[in-house]
């Protein structure tokens, strides 16, 4: 970093932050230089988001100081940070669900320039300009709560870029985005960087990280473990720095042996507007990958399997018995489990304890005579799963809100494994999950499949599909367009068919 002798725009020294029993940050220091993209890397729960939230005044540190242009800022608040030119794309977006996209984009800008009146006529063109600059199609008049996760993420990005930032934090801005959107975003990032903006970029997609960053800081369990020029790192070495160990990403697929009767049979499933004529099956122990571009209908297919959507025609049978369409209960009692895409709102009870979350789906089976819960059986289930999934938390009584992404996802998995499902459907199981956790989650799935469970996994992450799936289906515009069997599975070819 010494190659430029420019003064850092922002510097943090010895930041400490403790939540309850968890040390999120343990004396972290970092400095940002104008015109450089600084990558903050680390596993789930290593403290990346916390550091960002402290710098942007959302959280107050227990110790340490923040300097902007060499001047110490005491009592940082979001408003002061914004006025100092700090813009943040938060991991959870922090949008207003009840307001329109346009308002979401321009409101923070209007606050920062201390406007008293809200000028509707000015707000739209302002928002439109940034949407166009990013080459997006966003309905500016739609309420944010009606948007898909990807569109929300795009809205959050537009919001941060609409103002002239001096320092831009991007906390996992690409998790829900497609390749082309990511590419355009990176284009803009480069433009900003040329304009002298200091940018902090957080992502678990390590190849992305290496693509855009100049500097890298690696956190592990709240401590700074490595820092330096990005050119000195490869995906491998970065992974080692993050996890403290080597992570294996080679293809490791369970052997299915001889094909018997299928576990799940989907036949001619149809839901106009979402998908048409979907037929496939799943063998016991098989891990089936489904992929396709965002909005291709792949999510809707599995939502129909789980009963969240009601298909207009077609049948789904599990072990030969037909499911009642559109009934979650029927799917669950047939032995289907579903790990949803949006784990924070759909998968978890954030304020409830880990223990409560783990048994949330299997309460009836933990009751004697379906009436009284067996404390003993519950304790067994919880401790077994807590151990088996290696959930990192101070205790099972800790609320799930205090967990990082990867650990939270393990809790969702635990909830379904507690129901002893025959089929587990996972929608983006490793989105926002760090490399170490990701491999552990894949290992858990392989183990479960080895015991006879059928797994359906939706993912954007092609290498991940390659590393675990027996078979991969590709969805395009609501139809199954290709099927890759074990030997044919290869990242390059899948990507080609997807994008075609």
């Amino acid at each position: 970093m010494a190659e430029r002798n420019e003064a850092p725009v922002l510097e943090v020294r010895g930041i400490v932050k403790v939540f309850g029993g968890v040390t999120a940050l343990d004396g972290v220091s970092m400095s940002l230089l104008p015109g450089r993209v600084h990558c903050l890397a680390g596993e789930n729960g290593s403290g990346k988001s916390t550091l960002i939230k402290i710098i942007s005044g959302v959280d107050t540190p227990d110790a340490g100081e923040i300097l902007i242009d060499g001047e110490a800022m005491s009592g940082m608040t979001p408003a002061r940070a914004l006025r100092a030119g700090i813009q943040v794309i938060y991991q959870d977006f922090s949008l207003f669900p009840n307001l329109t996209v346009a308002e979401n984009i321009v409101l923070p800008a209007a606050i920062a320039s201390r406007k008293k009146l809200f000028n509707r006529a000015r707000s739209r063109p302002g928002a439109q300009r940034i949407v166009d600059e990013l080459g997006l199609t966003l309905d500016l008049d739609a309420d944010v709560e009606k948007l898909s996760v990807a569109d929300r993420q795009l809205t959050a990005i537009c919001r941060a870029l609409v103002q002239d930032a001096r320092i831009l934090f991007m906390d996992e801005p690409t998790t829900a985005l497609t390749h082309s959107e990511v590419a355009r975003l990176f284009g803009l990032v480069r433009k900003l960087q040329e304009r002298g903006v200091a940018i902090v970029f957080v992502s678990h997609k390590l190849d992305e990280v290496l693509e855009v960053s100049h500097d890298i800081t690696v956190l592990r369990s709240g401590q700074l473990v490595a820092s330096g020029d990005a050119r000195e790192y490869s995906v491998q070495s970065l992974t080692v720095a993050m996890t403290g160990r080597d992570v294996d990403t080679t293809r490791l697929v369970n052997d299915l042996g001889k094909r018997g009767a299928p576990l799940l049979e989907v036949s001619r499933l149809d839901l106009p507007g979402a998908f048409t004529d979907i037929s496939f099956d799943l063998a016991p122990g098989e891990i089936l990958g489904i992929t396709g571009l965002l909005g291709s209908g792949r999510g809707e297919i599995v939502e129909a399997l789980f009963g969240l959507l009601k298909p207009e025609s077609g049948t789904v049978t599990v072990n030969g018995a037909a499911l009642r369409p559109g009934s979650i209960r029927s799917s669950i009692s047939a032995g289907i489990g579903y790990v949803p895409e949006d784990r924070l709102t759909q998968g978890l009870f954030l304020e409830k304890s880990i223990a409560d979350n783990i048994i949330a789906g299997s309460l009836d089976s933990h009751a004697r005579g379906k009436v009284v819960l067996s404390q003993k059986r519950i304790a067994e289930t919880i401790s077994t799963l807590f151990t088996r999934l290696r959930i990192k938390a101070p205790s099972v009584a800790a609320p799930v809100r205090s967990l990082s992404g990867g650990n939270a996802q393990r809790v969702v998995l635990a909830k379904w494994l507690a129901t002893k499902p025959k089929i587990l459907i996972l929608n983006g199981p490793t989105v926002g999950v760090d490399v170490g956790s990701k491999n552990e989650i894949l290992t858990i799935l392989r183990d479960a499949a080895r015991e006879g469970m059928g797994v359906i996994m939706i993912s954007d992450d092609v290498p991940e599909l390659v590393s675990i799936c027996n078979r991969v289906l590709i969805v395009r515009r609501g139809s199954l367009v290709a099927e890759f069997d074990s030997e044919q599975i290869e990242a390059q070819r899948i990507q080609e068919v997807m994008a075609a």
């Binding site: 400490v16 403790v18 939540f19 309850g20 029993g21 968890v22 040390t23 343990d26 227990d62 592990r220 369990s221 401590q223 403290g244 160990r245 969240l308 979650i328 209960r329 669950i332 949803p340 709102t345 759909q346 998968g347 978890l348 009870f349 954030l350 304020e351 409830k352 304890s353 223990a355 409560d356 048994i359 949330a360 789906g361 309460l363 009836d364 933990h366 009751a367 379906k370 009436v371 009284v372 819960l373 404390q375 519950i378 304790a379 919880i382 401790s383 807590f386 151990t387 290696r390 990192k392 938390a393 101070p394 205790s395 099972v396 009584a397 800790a398 609320p399 809100r401 205090s402 909830k415």
Partner: protein, 382 residues
């Protein structure tokens, strides 16, 4: 950083988990709401006992507190259940009055023709009365679950409807008459403790068990904590909501039985002041009005606290308005205290943790695995 071998880590983790699971199981009921209410109860009691011992420590006074607590307490428990699902039930008092009116009407109707029969059918009459409460609960459940009306509005409307029915039914008059066995129960004591109070404790224990020890109760909590995740976990909101509002209707009916037990009369307008009071009690007792968290024990204690303060105020000759000021101050005071305590504790834990960590040479994965029982409730910022 040294990488721990799988075995030793797993073994360690295992024993730790056994411990934490055990503490979790035993601590799960000792939640917020209980401790502070216990403290408040003792303080209030001691204060009035000192200020006016002759009146306040009079056994009669204590007995009276135990006689008046149950009807409010049962309604507060019902309110707690509704709040647990993130809802509210404003119609409880109207339901109780409908039950009381049913009982009184049936009894006086029968007594006219055959007094002995009326007495012997006392149990049946009471059951019919409670059934009316359950029916009212069913209507609430239908509006909230099937039609999808927000609970506060649905029960606001049914409060007026049930009350209107009661007025039309009674012509606005106060009905007199209830099975004598009820009145006898209302007056009897066991070892100096009024039977009504024992009944209240039984109801509290049953509901406490229902909430914590049955799949239904746990589903209620989860539904209140996050309805979407509950749906994705296969919890049917319809069955939770129907179960909840049927139970609140049942408890409302039970409160109505207590109304006629304490006093063999029934009218459309008895207990209207309880509607907001029971919300206060439920929250004082640690119920999160947003849903998901509640303790029945806390609610029982909160009921007693308010009863004690009220009769204490009377004993030291303060007016009802001064009591209503005090009630407001206690409510805000308790909540503010909770907030401050929460803030202080996180800071305290923070500093010790930092010290611990600093003193540890090996800051590894286990650093944040130190068992910490305070972690459970220190994050409840709601």
């Amino acid at each position: 950083m040294p990488i721990r071998t799988h075995q030793s880590a797993a073994g360690q983790v295992n024993s730790r988990i056994d411990n934490t699971v055990r503490t979790w199981i035993s601590h799960i009921h000792v939640d917020r709401g209980i401790g502070r209410m216990l403290v408040l109860l003792v303080i209030a009691f001691a204060l009035f006992a000192v200020l006016n011992p002759r009146v306040f420590m009079n056994p009669l006074n204590l007995q009276n507190i135990m006689v008046s607590a149950p009807e409010v307490g049962i309604l507060a428990i019902a309110m707690t259940l509704a709040m647990l699902t993130g809802g509210i039930d404003l119609s409880l008092v109207s339901i109780a009055n409908l039950t009381a009116i049913t009982i009184s009407t049936m009894y006086t109707g029968l007594v006219g023709s055959d007094p002995a029969l009326a007495e012997s059918l006392g149990g049946v009459i009471v059951l019919v009365g409670i059934a009316v409460g359950v029916l009212a609960g069913l209507i609430n459940a239908f509006l909230i679950s099937t039609v999808g009306i927000t609970p506060i509005l649905a029960t606001l409307a049914t409060m007026q409807i049930f009350n209107g029915i009661a007025i039309v039914w009674t012509g606005g008059k106060t009905l007199y008459g209830a099975p004598q066995a009820l009145s006898a129960v209302g007056k009897s004591t066991v070892a100096g403790v009024p039977v009504l109070f024992l009944l209240f404790l039984v109801v509290a224990i049953v509901i406490g068990l229902l909430v914590n020890r049955t799949p239904f109760g746990r589903k209620t909590q989860l539904q209140g904590a996050n309805p979407t995740a509950a749906r994705f976990s296969g919890i049917r909101s319809a069955s939770v909501l129907y179960g909840t509002y049927l139970t609140t209707g049942l408890l409302g009916g039970l409160a109505g039985v207590l109304f006629v037990t304490r006093n063999p009369t029934a009218s459309a307008d008895y207990g209207t002041s309880y509607v907001l009071l029971v919300i206060v009690i439920a929250v004082l007792g640690g119920t999160n009005p947003m849903g998901g968290f509640a303790t029945v024990t806390g609610v029982v204690l909160a009921t007693l606290v308010l009863q004690v303060v009220q009769s204490g105020f009377n004993a030291i000759r303060l007016s009802s308005y001064e009591y209503s000021i005090a009630q407001g101050v206690i409510l805000i005071g308790v909540m503010v205290f909770d907030q401050l305590r929460f803030r202080r504790r996180t800071r305290y834990v923070a500093s010790t943790q930092t010290r611990n960590i600093a003193s540890m040479s090996n800051v590894g994965e286990d650093a944040d695995e130190t068992p910490d029982t305070a972690g459970a409730d220190s994050v409840e910022t709601k």
